[in-house]
Structures are given as C-alpha cells and as structure tokens.
C-alpha cells in the first residue's frame, strides 16, 4: 500500500531530515514507527500523508502520489497529528458536517466508540479535555473506515484505561485492506499492538521487520545477573534485573521487548541487524 523509494526530505540546504529512505508497507498490518524526538518520524508520516513533499525520491500510497492530494486519496486517508484540531462544534454537528466526506463512515461504530470512551455526543468539542479530544478524534478516524490511518503520538494525553481501550479498538478495527501507521516515542504503549516495527534515527531507517520475524531470530530474556552467554547481543540493567537480547539459533518464539530492542538498535545497530539477517534453525520439538 505504501511504497517509498530513495526518499529525501530537507527543510533547507543544510538541514536534511530524511535521507534515501526505502520502505515497502503492505496493507493488513499495524506499523509502529519508533524513534527519539527529532528522528524524522513526523516528517516521514507527513510525506506519506501529503502534507510535506519529498525533496527527492518517490512516495506512492495506494498508487497515488500523496503530494497531489487527490480527492480519492484524501477519502482513503485519515491523519491524526500529535496536536489534533477539533472545530468549534458539538459532536453531533461534527458528525453531520464531516461524515459526507468519508463514504464508508459508520455512525453506529462512532457512537459505540464514544460510549466506550464515556464521551457524551451532546458535548461541545472545545469543552473536552486534551485526552477526550484525542479519543473523540481517534474514534472518528476509526469509524471513517479509511484504508490508511496515520496517527502521530496517539497515546500522548491518554490515561492508562484509555490506552488499553485504544489498543483494543485498533485491533478490532483492523482488516486485510487497512494499514495503520502509528508513531510514538513511548515504546511500551505500542508493544502489544503493532505487527511490524520500524525504528528510525537521524532520518534513517535502522530496522524494518515484522514482530514475528524478530521473535523468531532474537531471544529476549530477563535475568538477575549479567549474561555470560556467547549468544548475547545486547544487555542493559533494568530495575528488576538484566534485560538481554540473545541470538535465537533454535528459533524459540518469545514475546518481543520492543523497548529493549529500540535501545539496542540505537546503540548496537550492526550487531542486531547481523543477527536478524541470519536464518534461525527450526525449533526442535
């Protein structure tokens, strides 16, 4: 669905934000785009959403060139920026004005989301708290049933129960035709949600793998003592012990510690990538 080839983006001659990015992102998946502040995440998603235009290279989304902002492309895209704007309307007025733009908008679905988030449809959008505004917008975006949903730091401002609800709603709303791209620097928020992981730093893609592949090739462990294993790729001290990433030659399937992997990619990129490029042995029964 998203095909990016040699994408460059610079704000000025001296300030290059993205350099020679290549990405293929098929539909039916939830992508987590992770990176530190200033890594280039927001610039990349704005290029995908057609808000910024590539300086060099190509970006194609559903066979459209996002920078053209064609009407059929916009009907299939919902983009929630980090600080989302909501107009000066009640929720009911908001629905009446904006639903005609999205052909597959499901009013009942939106009502259900509002109910789950405990937001009264009669409320004025401007009267909602930051977190409630975000929830109202996320619900609208999901109910719009666009093929591409991009969310920049969606969990910022959400309380813990809402984060859980958010993850469940995204999972339930997924389909084979849909692609969800979420950026975050709060890695734990996306841990259970995403199917594919993209890690960025300094405008480059450090890692782009499915979580399934990562879990087959790397082993994540937590021990009380530092590891002496020859398979050790990365370890760091945590409050409850030593978190380690080891080679996984037997292909043992364990949950991926996204935060640990993120830290490992920033400090030991080559080691992790080498391990990920090696084929594991099939798991012994």
């Amino acid at each position: 669905m998203i095909s990016i080839h040699q994408l460059n983006y610079r704000y000025s001659r001296k300030r290059e934000i993205l350099s020679c990015l290549d990405l293929e992102m098929p539909a039916g998946k939830i992508y987590g785009l992770l990176g530190k502040n200033g890594a280039g995440k927001s610039t990349l998603i704005r290029n995908i959403a057609g808000m910024l235009f590539p300086t060099k290279g190509n970006c194609k989304v559903m066979d459209y060139e996002p920078k053209q902002r064609q009407i059929d492309f916009l009907k299939e895209l919902f983009f929630i920026p980090e600080e989302c704007f909501l107009p000066n309307l009640t929720i009911s007025q908001f629905i009446d004005i904006y639903t005609p733009y999205y052909p597959r908008f499901d009013r009942q679905q939106y009502q259900d989301y509002l109910k789950q988030f405990a937001i009264d449809p009669k409320q004025h959008l401007q009267a909602l708290s930051f977190g409630q505004k975000k929830k109202a917008m996320i619900g609208f975006a999901l109910a719009a049933n666009t093929r591409l949903l991009i969310m920049d730091e969606p969990t910022n401002g959400l309380d813990i129960p809402s984060k859980v609800l958010f993850r469940n709603m995204i999972t339930e709303a997924m389909s084979a035709e849909r692609l969800v791209l979420i950026t975050s620097h709060q890695v734990r928020d996306l841990d259970e949600l995403i199917t594919d992981l993209i890690i960025m730093d300094h405008g480059e893609i450090l890692l782009h793998e499915t979580k399934e592949d990562i879990s087959g090739k790397l082993l994540f462990e937590l021990t009380e003592e530092p590891s002496q294993s020859s398979e050790l790729l990365y370890e760091e001290k945590q409050a409850n012990g030593w978190a380690q990433i080891l080679k996984n030659p037997m292909g043992i399937s364990r949950p991926v510690d996204v935060e640990l992997l993120f830290n490992a990619m920033l400090s030991s990129r080559e080691t992790i990538n080498t391990a990920l490029s090696t084929q594991p042995q099939p798991e012994l029964i």
Partner: protein, 252 residues
C-alpha cells in the same frame, strides 16, 4: 470540481463560524449606525456623498476582515493539516472561500447597509428629501469591482503569511499602491517632461496643469474598454489563481 463539495465546504464554514459571524454582523450594524450618527451630528462639516464614504469604509473594512477569516486554519499547524486533509480539491476550497467572501458577503453587506441607511434616513427625516443610496450613479459600482481585487489580495495574503496576515496584507497593498503610483508618476514625467502633472491614477488617467487650467487626460474609450475587463475581471481571477496554486503547494 464538484458542486456538492463546494456546498459542503461553505456549509462547514458557516456552521463552524456561525457564532463569530453573528457577532460580526451585529458589530457591522453598530459600526455603520455609528458612522451615520457621526455624519449626522457633524453634517455641516461633511459635504458631498458622505453615504458613499460610509459604504466604502464598511465594505473594505468588514470585507477585508471577513475575507481574512477564510483559510484562517493556516495560522496553526494542526488546523492547517485538518483543512488540507478535508477530502475536497484545492480548487473547491478556493472557490468556496471566494463565493463566501464575495457573493455571499456582498449580499449580506448590501442588505445590512441598506437596512441601516433606510433606518438612518427615516429617523433623521431625510427619506423623502434625499432619496435612498444609489450605488449605480457616477460609476460608483466600480468600487464593488475594486472590492473583488481587494478580496483577491487579502485571500492571497491569508495563504502567504502565517501570522498577522491581515496587517501584513494591508501593508503590502498600501506599499504596492504607493510604488505603483510613484512608478506611474515617474514614467509620466519621463515620457512628457514639460508637463506639470497634478494627479494620476495607474492604468486609468492623469491630470496636468497648463496656462492655469487643469486638463484631464484619459484613455480613449476603445482602449479603456480593453483595459477595464483586464483590470476588473482578470486581476481578481489572477489573484484567486495564485491563491489556488499556493494552497496546492502548501506544506505543513
């Protein structure tokens, strides 16, 4: 370009800004009434077509501010993203803004002006003696066409300047007018150095003094007929066209 989309965009603008527009209408009525009160109290100090003056001040002030409220979303990143993401073409967005700030605005402004003017004339007992405001005498209606150019300039300023767009647009308009006028005078002096030009209007006419007499020179009727459509029709179209290109190329 879809008419449904334009209708939806206009309706969106109205519904989102309804409260502001109602307050602005009340303010406009107050402003016009205040100006009429002012000219009535100091009627001996004002002479000539004072109603025309009130009409023009109200038109350009309220029209400029109203036009500047179109695309106000671009002064804030998240609102700008919201506007650009609305599934409508850039052309539809510009056309809806132009229709709102010209056709719909003029209809509302003229209605309000005639209402206040009628009230003023009746309350001051001048209705029978003076007659109601007629904008079709002495080519006064050309100011409506001038308003279209002004509208194009303000819309273009709105999409070009992120902050304080109205003030910046006004500075550019005034500076542009001064530069154009100076260049016009300079070229007149260069072409006809012996004449003492007393006043001039770019693309229109000039006046010079000879043997104690003011002589007014204007383009021949046929040339004027060629210049007028360009000035009154093509200039706003050109400005709206640039606004459309600016929105099309807008990056946030």
């Amino acid at each position: 370009m879809s008419l449904t989309s334009i209708r939806l965009l206009i309706s969106r603008q109205f519904k989102e800004q309804m409260r502001v527009y109602l307050i602005a209408m009340a303010l406009l009525i107050g402003l016009l009434a205040f100006m009429f009160l002012l000219i009535h109290n100091w009627r001996d100090s004002f002479s000539g077509a004072v109603e025309n003056g009130v009409f023009l001040i109200g038109l350009f002030l309220s029209g400029g501010l109203f036009t500047n409220s179109m695309f106000r979303e671009f002064s804030n990143n998240s609102e700008g993203i919201w506007l650009l993401n609305i599934p409508a073409t850039s052309m539809e967005k510009v056309v809806s803004a132009v229709l709102l700030s010209t056709v719909i605005f003029l209809a509302v402004y003229l209605s309000i002006f005639f209402l206040v003017d009628t009230l003023y004339l009746n309350l001051t007992g001048q209705a029978n003696a003076k007659g109601f405001f007629d904008m079709f005498t002495n080519g006064f209606h050309e100011f409506i066409l001038l308003y279209l150019i002004f509208n194009g300039l303000i819309l273009l300023g709105r999409v070009s300047f992120v902050k304080h767009s109205f003030l910046k647009s006004m500075v550019v308009i005034i500076a542009g007018f001064v530069v154009l006028n100076t260049l016009n005078n300079f070229s007149l002096e260069y072409m006809i150095p012996d004449l003492s030009v007393t006043s001039s209007m770019p693309l229109s006419s000039f006046q010079f003094r000879q043997s104690g007499e003011n002589i007014h020179v204007q383009l021949p009727a046929a040339t004027q007929a060629m210049v007028s459509p360009f000035l009154w029709t093509l200039t706003p179209l050109f400005l709206w066209g640039i606004t459309w290109l600016k929105i099309k190329e807008k990056e946030i």
